[in-house]
Point group: C2
Chain length 128, copies 2
């Protein structure tokens, strides 16, 4: 588990943790069935409190990225809820693209950026 936390960021630690794990799944560094480190282990590795990791795991479970097995602990388990995900993506993009639009970033600029990010995730995927 390579986790990078920016302690000077205005984004909450547990939120950064969620983002990194989700990006790890997209990049196929984490696959369905893979166990996550225990809350105590990961907290110790990163140098943060156990409850901060626990909050991240709880959020990931509520959002459908993780399930908890009493025996094995937290395990990656993505449930593909495309409809809701599309709606949430739209909400987020509406604001991001507004900011981009104000700065004369073109539709093609955004498409290229999307393609580049998709290629990154897809290429990581093909290595498995």
């Amino acid at each position: 588990m390579y986790i990078e936390i920016d302690f000077n960021s205005d984004e909450a630690i547990y939120s950064q943790l969620c983002d990194q794990i989700i990006m790890g799944i997209a990049a196929a560094r984490l696959n369905d069935g893979d166990p996550l480190p225990s809350v105590r282990q990961l907290a110790n590795d990163i140098g943060i409190n156990m409850h901060t990791v626990n909050k991240a795991y709880t959020v990931l479970r509520q959002q459908g990225y993780v399930k908890v097995d009493r025996r094995r602990g937290a395990v990656i388990s993505v449930d593909p809820d495309k409809a809701i995900a599309l709606e949430e993506l739209g909400e987020s993009l509406r604001v991001d693209i507004a900011r981009a639009f104000c700065r004369n970033i073109s539709r093609e600029d955004v498409h290229k950026l999307v393609d580049r990010i998709f290629d990154d995730y897809a290429s990581d995927h093909s290595k498995e």
Copy 2:
């Protein structure tokens, strides 16, 4: 000024205010040189505190969407900093697309969504 605040949202009021004004600029409902309502006026219209509006205006000024004229108050003034905006957009997209990727949302799905949002902003623009 049509501002919609969701008081049940987990997003801060001043942050929602910033987003709405930026989306207003993208949609050309607000144009360069247009004055924003005074902090007291807008606070009164929405039913929130003056300082909450003031914080939003301050953030918008720091991010380069607004300038302050002692005589006229806050005025829309977008400075097109494309390089920084592209970087910020990339950071945001990397997380959003990871979430989408996990939910089997395709590259084409994202492109369509981007186009739809761009069309919305551009069509609003052409009405002016």
